[in-house]
């Protein structure tokens, strides 16, 4: 299957969901015009990142009418966006929403919101509990949010559920400016090169640009093929709508020539893992 994915590397306005909604509509309309099948926005694309006490004030249930304009556009294109979710359990979450055929198809709550150094997420949001892998018109999709991808266990779970593509919504602040590329960008690219290569799937990484209180988000969004090849690159620091043409046949080819998932024995993983868990409570 061939399809076109749009990476919406935007700079949201901190705490202003109305303005950000307009930006989502604007980028989505452009992507529809370019006949993209899917548009992916960054983490917390509807709210901005460094919300602090604003978190609860911008939180929305995923069924909120606020998203209606995007559900309408979502009849023509699948849309993935980041928002603060006002959970049914009365917690707030850093979440990703997948819109398809005019309705919300899936909502994923970030599993590992970082809380150390410059990060303060768990002060304001709760942790999700579940990896979501679901069928879409472009194949099996998993969504992960930023820090999640530094946990190979989550990428492994997406792989174990036989995902064709992992959509990574990111708000990765820049650090490390010694090398040719920002150090954190190197880290992300190396990780995703490795994941795609061994897990034989696509990864679309969408990072925002702009600044929240001095934290600078570098952008650098890209798509990586199952062979670790970069398909599209949105560049550093500027807003961009970048397109990638994906041929999902590459997954099949890769998994035939390098059949790791076929070899994988989930029972062995499970048995060993259960033992490790058991031992760790000794």
């Amino acid at each position: 299957m061939h399809y076109k994915i749009a990476l919406a590397q935007i700079n949201p306005v901190l705490g202003d969901i109305e303005k950000n909604l307009l930006k989502h509509e604007e980028f989505t309309k452009k992507a529809i015009k370019e006949k993209a099948d899917l548009i992916v926005f960054p983490e917390l694309s509807m709210t901005g990142y460094k919300l602090g006490d604003l978190t609860m004030e911008v939180a929305l249930p995923y069924e909120s009418d606020f998203f209606k304009p995007l559900l309408t556009l979502g009849k023509h294109i699948d849309i993935v966006l980041g928002f603060v979710e006002r959970g049914k359990d009365k917690n707030s979450y850093n979440s990703a929403m997948y819109i398809s055929e005019g309705r919300v198809k899936s909502v994923y709550e970030k599993l590992y919101p970082p809380t150390h150094g410059m990060f303060d997420e768990l002060r304001f949001v709760a942790r999700g509990k579940e990896i979501k892998t679901f069928d879409t018109k472009i194949g099996k999709v998993s969504m992960l949010i930023c820090r999640d991808i530094f946990h190979p266990s989550l990428m492994f779970l997406a792989y174990a559920s036989n995902a064709d593509i992992v959509l990574v919504l990111s708000n990765m602040p820049l650090r490390g400016l010694k090398g040719e590329k920002p150090a954190i960008q190197e880290t992300v690219e190396k990780a995703i090169d490795t994941y795609t290569n061994f897990f034989g799937m696509f990864v679309a990484y969408v990072n925002r640009v702009g600044f929240d209180d001095g934290l600078g988000f570098f952008g650098g969004s890209f798509v990586c093929t199952p062979s670790g090849r970069k398909l599209a690159y949105a560049g550093l620091f500027d807003e961009a709508l970048t397109f990638a043409e994906i041929d999902s046949e590459e997954i099949f080819k890769k998994r035939q020539t390098f059949p790791l998932l076929r070899e994988e024995d989930m029972n062995i993983v499970k048995l060993n893992f259960d033992k490790i868990l058991e031992d760790s409570y000794d």
Binding site: G15, D16, D53, K178, G216
Partner: protein, 273 residues
């Protein structure tokens, strides 16, 4: 020496984006800054002009009677070279008026007063120009506390606040700031003959290595000494950093209510752009 090198091409771009966005998110288009004739204010003026356009950068030169004439000339050189609007406002009469009534020879006290008078003038000018004050402090002096609290530290943004002086120097070289500015010894010029490196007791390259190891790499005093830095210097740097933390934080508030500034009233700085 510790490797403090940076990719100055990407860094300068990053700082230009920072200035553009943070000035605008504070709802301003213009900035004012004190142009001292030194390296830090020159670098911030260059970056600001690139980010906002030279017509939106106003340099204020504020000499005192004991200031080095070179400082004024170098500041003028910078302003003209970039083509920014600039004005000279001599602070001698304001300062002397005060010290006519206050009898002191304490250089530190006079120096701090000069710095705070300059701060008052800059903030007054922001009303006139509808502008924000750009901070010109670098990471070395801010971390060493070698800055005047509510004097040169007072600003809306710190664009070079995460760069050690050695890195500011390299960035200035990359940006092709005139040699004359690059080559003079760093000085606050608060009294004749004052030099940063005399007062701080070491050259910046060495101070910065120790600061970097202590702050960025979280090495202990013993570890830094074992890497070949003199015990006296390391102790001095660490004492300076630790004893000046009050300058880098909001003052303690006696908390008793549900939400208290500086403690748990945690709205972002950039909200409501």
């Amino acid at each position: 020496m510790t490797d403090l090198s940076l990719n100055y091409e990407v860094l300068s771009k990053f700082l230009v984006y920072f200035i553009k966005e943070e000035v605008q998110s504070n709802k301003f288009n213009k900035v004012v800054l004190g142009l001292s004739g030194g390296l830090d204010s020159a670098v911030v003026a260059y970056l600001s002009a690139e980010a906002l356009g030279k017509e939106n950068v106003i340099g204020i030169l504020m000499p005192y009677k004991l200031s080095s004439p070179d400082s004024l000339n170098d500041a003028l050189l910078i302003a003209k070279k970039i083509g920014i609007k600039h004005e000279t406002f001599e602070i001698t009469d304001i300062v002397d008026q005060y010290f006519k009534k206050i009898n002191t020879t304490d250089k530190m006290r006079i120096g701090n007063f000069l710095s705070r008078v300059r701060m008052s003038i800059l903030f007054d000018r922001t009303r006139e120009y509808d502008a924000i004050v750009m901070g010109t402090g670098n990471k070395s002096e801010i971390m060493l506390g070698y800055t005047t609290w509510y004097g040169d530290m007072a600003a809306g943004l710190y664009p070079i606040g995460d760069l050690y002086k050695t890195q500011v120097f390299e960035l200035a070289k990359f940006m092709k700031i005139p040699e004359k500015i690059l080559n003079k010894p760093p000085s606050a010029d608060l009294w004749p003959g004052q030099k940063d490196e005399d007062e701080l007791g070491a050259v910046y390259r060495e101070l910065d290595s120790v600061l970097y190891l202590y702050i960025d790499e979280r090495k202990s005093m013993e570890e830094i000494i074992s890497l070949g830095h003199s015990k006296k210097l390391v102790q001095n740097v660490i004492r300076r950093v630790n004893s000046t933390q009050f300058k880098r934080t909001i003052p303690p508030v006696a908390k008793f209510s549900a939400r208290t500034l500086g403690i748990d009233f945690l709205y972002p700085h950039d909200m409501g752009r």
